[in-house]
């Protein structure tokens, strides 16, 4: 089990958006902040983005992805943010209850006063862009290849074609070239580059990797392994232009064809998504339509630069902390009312102390079994007796009422929980 089962702010995802949210939440006064990460280490996708170019705006330094991640992770840890790694969030409710499966702690449920969704994106795959042809081994997303080459240490192939001119695709073109592979071509169906121009210059142009705009893949060839792809030019409506086909021999095809915000958990929490971005509808504090549920980073919309993701995370974390603190203040106004000895239930279940200060409050209950002799009905806190009155008998069929008056206010304030016991005077 975890040390706590309720946190001020829980963040799902430890990428740049999530970590920034956790930092900002701490700085805005949230006490208990927890980041949940499904991987065995924090950092998200930055861990595999070993190229530099991160932090130019936010840190005024040209850092590689892992270094950028570490800068903020170190800051979060110094502020006392807790991390729960190797943990999958199975379900989330609109009341911000989370159900987790953790390698270390097993099945865990916990509550968040405010929740920040920071699950990032998934890459679009072959299935989403419907490339015809054979289904051999050797077709990967650019991000998968990036993880293998940069973190796990093995090459997915020797001769590559990359479909899509997204940043990850161009960056992988350079990276694969560094590792001795040949990148034959980058094909882009649109008439313009989909990534940053600087990446075209320093990843493709620098290494003479040809980029063809208005080109796509007509089919994939090869039975067990990719043997070639057939490239074709498209017109303005993306129809193939007959006669422009070219067979490009290769053993691997990488797809860099866009990202989709990963919002399965958001949906479970009742968050409504914008069909254009694929992310939640949010206000300026990044709060979704579900009160207390915020969203940070690429889960909202796909960013071009990590610096903006960090900034968005700060906004969401600040909003979440504010919500959590208001929630906590509201909770502190209330004192829970619990059924004690021989009491089956009590209504109301909780009591607003501010009401009691002004007017009397009736506590009504039923007993679990009849007691046919003089009894005490006692309302008490952990260390103080608040009201005690007697009754000649109690029976489950007949409701019992205890009245709390403004005169009891001071004593009620001393109690964390009000408990009601009903017991024979002979046992007192």
């Amino acid at each position: 089990m975890l040390a706590k089962n309720i946190y001020d702010v829980v963040v799902i995802g430890s990428g740049p958006g999530g970590v920034a949210a956790a930092i900002a939440a701490k700085q805005a006064g949230a006490d208990d902040v927890l980041v949940i990460e499904r991987d065995v280490e924090p950092g998200g996708i930055l861990v595999q983005c070993i190229h530099n170019g991160f932090g130019l705006t936010s840190l005024k330094e040209d850092l590689p992805g892992p270094g950028y991640a570490q800068y903020y992770l170190d800051q979060a840890k110094a502020l006392g943010v807790e991390f729960l790694l190797d943990t999958m969030v199975l379900d989330v409710t609109s009341q911000r209850k989370l159900y987790l499966s953790s390698q270390e702690h097993g099945y865990v449920d916990l509550e968040a006063r405010a929740l920040v969704m920071a699950m990032g994106c998934r890459e679009r795959t072959r299935a989403q862009i419907r490339i015809p042809g054979m289904r051999p081994n050797g077709v990967f997303t650019a991000g998968t290849a990036q993880r293998w080459v940069n973190v796990e240490g093995w090459m997915p192939g020797k001769k590559f074609v990359i479909l899509g001119s997204g940043d990850i695709g161009m960056i992988m073109a350079r990276r694969l070239t560094y590792e001795g592979a040949k990148v034959e071509r980058v094909l882009e169906i649109q008439s313009y580059l989909s990534g940053l121009t600087r990446n075209y210059v320093q990843c493709l142009q620098d290494y003479d990797i040809p980029l063809q705009l208005n080109y796509t893949i007509k089919r994939i060839m090869g039975k067990n392994r990719v043997e070639a792809i057939e490239a074709v030019q498209v017109d303005q409506r993306w129809n193939f232009v007959p006669g422009t086909e070219e067979i490009i021999p290769c053993d691997t095809l990488l797809l860099s064809v866009g990202l989709i915000p990963e919002n399965e958990l958001s949906r479970k929490a009742g968050v409504i998504l914008d069909p254009v971005t694929g992310g939640p509808f949010v206000d300026e504090t990044f709060q979704t339509n579900v009160p207390g549920v915020f969203a940070a980073g690429n889960v909202v919309h796909v960013y071009d630069l990590v610096d903006w993701v960090t900034e968005a995370g700060f906004g969401a974390g600040k909003g979440a902390a504010k919500f959590a603190l208001a929630q906590k203040a509201a909770e502190q106004r209330y004192t829970p009312v619990k059924a004690g000895r021989n009491v089956r239930y009590v209504v109301p279940h909780k009591l607003d102390k501010q009401t009691l200060e002004q007017e009397e409050v009736h506590l009504q209950m039923r007993v679990t079994k009849p007691i046919e002799e003089d009894v005490w009905i006692e309302v008490h806190g952990e260390n103080n007796s608040i009201v005690r009155r007697s009754e000649r008998y109690v029976r489950p069929g007949e409701m019992v009422t205890v009245v709390l008056r403004p005169a009891h206010y001071a004593e009620v304030c001393k109690a964390g929980t009000l408990t009601i016991d009903i017991y024979p005077k002979s046992e007192a």
Partner: protein
Amino acid sequence: MEERNLICTACPMGCRLVVKMEGDQVLQIAGNRCRRGESFGRQEAIAPQRMVASTVRVLNGFHPLLPVYTKGTVPKKKIAEVLAEIRKVQIAAPVANKTVIIKNILGTGVDVVASRDMPAKA
């Protein structure tokens, strides 16, 4: 006089630069929106420089590879040699972020440093 069209990579804005040159002399730079673009254009027209990021093998590390990068830019035409040097290195975990892996690589005055902490295998 020669006119060269370059794209600035000093930041993600990707300004289109027009560099007017006379032989190896840069006469004028236009199209930049900041001073970094000016110095980038001057350098890029004469002797392009790049930062290089790659990985080195780690012994007993949490991952088999440690990401590393050149703390500053190195001449573009030396990138292949820089990569060859980096490929020779093997280092034992744990390694701290920013640890110098290769000092003054190929006499460029630039250090190759670790991109992150690399804890030892649990």
